[in-house]
Symmetry: D2
Subunit: 438 residues, 4 copies
């Protein structure tokens, strides 16, 4: 038996068997330059400004996702027949689910208007990428099959659920990995027990969790809930994203107006800033270093806004943020007054007064039955003697207790913090104003 | 009591007390842009090509080192009087010990001919850095005191040993951190027990370990030994460094010869490549993104060597390596023949046939009494009833058993692997040829 | 500085400083034979029949509780003044809180009609115990002070809360310890974060948790909730307790009726079985070995019930249990019919048909505001800028979501399992019948 | 697929598949009363007097050993064909390897003159035990096959090595388990990596470790070495065993002399004390509770030696110990003088002055090539390209560095500690006298 072994801080040993066709394919996909690029894209973007350890890349995460997919399929394979071609497609989709991701994607995708899943599908279907060639050389249908898993159109749907649903191997890996790396530990749950309890509901073509796994899934969903509140929605992280957004919007604006902004000439990042369309290859040339390198140079820009924001970003002198815990109407009043105050203090509100709503978060997705479409839901077995399979929130009070998290926040320079706080206490004397934790 | 709290994957909670002068200083040093820059410099450089999780920065490490220094001083303070000004200097030195580090420093420093410790001292003494200003505003002597700890000239020497010796807080942190992040786990030892056993030998002004801590220190030294063999000297990591070295040497050579090499104009990295001297501020503008961004662009260079090596580096298509386990004379013969073979295959040996010796490693430093100077040595208490303080290798057979690790290795393109292997087996039929593990 | 060090699977290093009066007292209390006896009493009684690793003693737990008390007091002492005599009393109470515990206390106390807290108080106040003598020799008031903490009458109440409330060091230790030892991992929460967030509300003389600790306390309460459901209320454990209860009740009955039951003559356990009152010293002679040794001998009893039950117990051939998830009236019907069925099968229902209700559990105490008396409640700070201190369930939706757990269960021999199941499905066709997990 | 799941503090989830004949057999063996008895026998006997957490039973350990055997066989089965009957025999032997163990076996076996392996074989071959019946009902040869594995006579020898050699699943489990439970952490090594590297050398019918596993095996052997020094040979543990030995020898002596010693009449333990032979069933009735219960009663013995020693034992008032680090001749002199001193102080040396030599330890077995017989040795692959399989100490300097541990110790009552220490310093002024750590 031959194999390739990776050590991993989360899963310890990750084995790729290289004596099977599937294993050979996975190994070559990992070695493809498009996948290697993921080493240069941080999984959590700017979260390291809050949790300094959160420096891990999408590469390490993606390997972990493949590992979990392999483990889950081995487990399910003990009691269900899974076709080899479906297995290969599911594994490839698990490995490649982030291959089209750009750097700081929450921010970049919003400012620039694209979506990484579209790029992932293009990478898989492309004839100019090594990933595309490898998939096609395995079987002519494989690129389409992988793409259809990523787009959620695959059958058997149960396998697609493992890649993308409320209980998929992507989330299973990132909760543990982000927890370990942030040091926050909010995302720890009983992985082994969940893998042990996963089953296929052949009749309805979906994944479900055996009754003994209910508590572990509750714990998993609570873990996710706290990770959102404490990490993914953390004020410092969101404030850093607000600064980055302002920087990019300012650079785009200046270029639109024909003003000078330093760009490394002839690079794909220059095309991005000039809003020129990119080929797949050009998209795949970029990573975190393009953004960081340019912003460092912009610290010497002659435009005072771009100059100032770039210095704040590079030196981690970010915006302050407050959560607006007040009725809609009052909030509007407060925001109007605060925006004027920022303006009067000499800061252009367009770049220095940034509202942040939960709806902005691209994967607002801690579990609530309303928001998840049926195939993304979690199903559990209820009862031992004559069990039924039911959606988890019908069974679990603990899950019903996880409420939607409404984020109404505003970010502004620390220089105006005191005035904004005073204003807030006048407008909302009964409300709490929450200062950034750090 | 007021404090600032960091979560950390290694130490869990790192507290900075902010209600003391010392605490205030530490907090401001952390917030200084020169320290924030360390977020953009990876602790282990290219080790992520072997252990994909090894993506942590010098920022996270440096915070951990400060944390350990605080813990050790608190512990020693239970039984010894430590002056406040010495405490502050020791803590600042612990935090700042890497502040002058450049990116991929093993490679860059060697190719470009400088040493990061010199930069660290300059950063502390400088009047143009915020770090320098903060130290000076705490006390006029502090910059000098911190610099003297880093240079190993400080008194009391016991405190300087905590920052730089064979058993210092730097090594204590990085063994644990590198172990966790690589997933290799070779560097785990009993930190709590060691901290608990540290003592000051007032008479000789040095640190020693109480008798009960002997086994823990043995374990610590074995941990270090295995980390060197399995991580820091790993063939893939060293091969990646060889490729990077070749890239830089090629770029410098082309520029010396007046040929064109793409550089972002007006950046400090351009000055580096043109071998122009840098100010402290310019040095501190650079980080990993400069190197990575430029090498990405060099993939389109018209120089075939720079072009090819940059593609190998970016796509992790590295050199192969073999360890030459043979007498000196035979090794020389083999190397001559192998170099010719590489040349004949169309690869310039200067860039494609790289010898790698242990002596190259800037911190060849798993513990052996011969190499460590007296003040860097480890001392332990021997015996309970009438104990003496002795150098650890006099007491411990296990430590004496840790032998110098002689690295004689050569790296070359995988395209010539088979011919080189055949040559090796002809020259050294009795010897083992060790292929790269992955 | 001198100290005594214990290694601990949960807390790693437990230090007793022996260079202070308080430290000397703690060390001597640990060495007292009354405290050493706790080595022979398992913390979780019969839980090892479900979780084979749950074999830890009250000794290890009590040391852990002292350790946590020391850590919490050190932390609180950074911002509050705590009198030395209060500190000593709090530490002694933490260490000794279980010193009067008998073996298998849930079962024994109920069958025999006494309560371990009464014994603990007697041990502390007694002049015939070494513990009593040590406390008294420290200060004449100390025995009373320790007793009053254990009885919850102490002032300052904040310190008493640390020993006995919904967020006390007893629970903090046992959740982690029971989690580790069972391997169930349900009881893991963020201890460091909670210790870090504990504060004294001087005005109201109570402990509260700073705002940043809210999530950690929610996690702690959820951990407790799952430990109750998955460990402390586990069917196999409760069924083992039911068998043990039947054994003891049978032995007592036989002795009351003048029949022969083997007892080791002249031992305190014989007095217990003959319902004779015990002195403190006699109570303290007994431990788990008395119960286990006698039941082993009762496997040869001429009484068929005592003989049979003792064999079941020793060989872990326990009762089956079902949870009766049905309205009160139907439950009564079902229980009547099932009891008759058991009787007809030749098993005396008094010993072989055991109802088990949550109310039986002596410390029904996962947190709900209704059940906890004010001084046992958990208080948290709400809001950052102008914070208030409020009871946690007013602040936290997650805590309000933890519902009372109603246990209606019945245990019976596996020999009648099938008939009982059929009966259950006839009576309650819509309900789920939950078989014992193992 | 059906299965039974155990949670375990070391291995997390232990699965018994119950849908195979082998799985059914394992489940029934676990449920057999002879195996359940192991719940009442502590794995480490009196080690809890040093490491209070070391309270785990042979039951938990034995389950862990079965789990490891299953994992190793599954791994080996990927590349080697293993017959089903051999698999079943190896698993049963792994599970049952301790089934004949008595309580406090180091002490009891020596004083009473028997060996637990003999009892284990008898249990497996017996027709009166359930274990014997279950093995026989699986196949008529199985009892003999299991016995021959335990006696080391089985073929294929490779499978027998997994149960009993220097690198067997017994040691693999107990190092990790004892480490976790003691909290000492000396025995932690990289289990996953070792399992991953195990191979069968078909030609020589033995187990070996692939080259990549060398460091992990070195770490495993170092772990074992430290566990012996720090746990299994710990002075307090050995001193507790010395006291227990004296108690038993005294009780036997008194009974031999026709004097009265309290025994629970009609119990197998009484037969043991009267040196009457036991049947298998009688042997299997005894466990730790017999010893503990009797010694508690002996605290009221009219014999002053038995009375005193029993009180010391129960209250953990043990002997002191010193390690005699001196030449053979001086040691003899010292021992003679010290014995007289103890005698003069009124303590019968036979019971109060106990010499303790390493040779006493029944499994003196940290690895050295001289002591291990060939089939118990560890073999590793050396070299990658043309590997050979060699005994590990030929390959590894680190293993050669692990020296035989010579224990020359003497135990005596703390009451004479000072005089003995003075004597020791007079006899051996240059030597260190090592007081008990605690």
């Amino acid at each position: 038996m031959s194999e390739r072994i990776y050590r991993d801080p989360v899963h310890n040993i990750i084995r790729l068997r290289t004596d099977t066709d599937e294993g050979q394919l996975m190994m070559r996909l990992v070695d493809a330059p498009e996948f290697q690029r993921l080493r240069r894209i941080k999984q959590l973007g700017l979260a390291l400004y809050t949790y300094q350890g959160a420096e891990h890349s999408r590469f390490a995460h993606s390997l972990g996702v493949l590992h979990l997919m392999t483990r889950v399929l081995n487990r399910l394979g003990e009691s269900h027949r899974i076709k080899e071609e479906d297995r290969a497609a599911a594994c490839a989709a698990a490995l490649l689910h982030d291959v089209g991701h750009g750097s700081f994607s929450h921010v970049m995708e919003k400012v620039l208007g694209f979506h990484h899943e579209g790029w992932t599908v293009r990478v898989c279907l492309s004839e100019e990428t090594e990933v595309g060639r490898l998939l096609r050389s395995f079987s002519t249908e494989l690129p389409e099959r992988v793409a259809s898993i990523i787009e959620g159109k695959f059958h058997p749907a149960a396998l697609a659920q493992l890649v993308s649903s409320q209980l998929d191997v992507d989330r299973m890996d990132y909760l543990l990995r982000d927890s370990l790396m942030t040091g926050a530990k909010y995302g720890i749950y009983d992985l082994e027990w969940i893998i042990n309890a996963l089953q296929i509901d052949e009749e309805n073509d979906r994944i479900y969790v055996a009754a003994r796994g209910l508590y572990a899934v509750e714990e998993y969903l609570q873990a996710r809930y706290y990770m959102f509140r404490q990490v993914y929605f953390h004020r410092t992280l969101r404030s850093a994203e607000a600064v980055l957004r302002s920087i990019l919007r300012r650079a785009l604006k200046l270029l639109e107006e024909g003003k000078e902004v330093w760009c490394a000439p002839g690079t794909p990042f220059e095309k991005v800033l000039r809003r020129e369309p990119l080929t797949v290859s050009e998209h795949l040339e970029m990573d975190d270093s393009d953004v960081l390198f340019h912003i460092k140079q912009w610290q010497r820009s002659s435009d005072p806004v771009l100059n100032d924001l770039s210095r704040r970003f590079t030196g981690r002198r970010l915006f302050k943020a407050i959560d607006l815990d007040m009725p809609q109407a009052e909030r509007a009043d407060f925001l109007r007054a605060a925006r004027e105050m920022v303006q009067r203090a000499g800061y252009e509100p367009e770049y220095y007064f940034i509202e942040d709503h939960a709806g902005d978060v691209p994967y607002y997705n801690y579990y609530t039955a309303e928001v998840a479409e049926p195939k993304a839901r979690i199903y559990v077995e209820d009862g031992y003697a004559r069990p039924l399979i039911r959606e988890i929130s019908e069974v679990s009070e603990a899950v019903r207790g996880l409420k939607r998290y409404q984020l109404n926040r505003v970010c502004f320079p620390p220089e105006v913090k005191e005035s904004i706080y005073n204003l807030y206490h006048n407008v909302a004397p009964e409300q709490r104003a929450v200062d950034a934790a750090r």
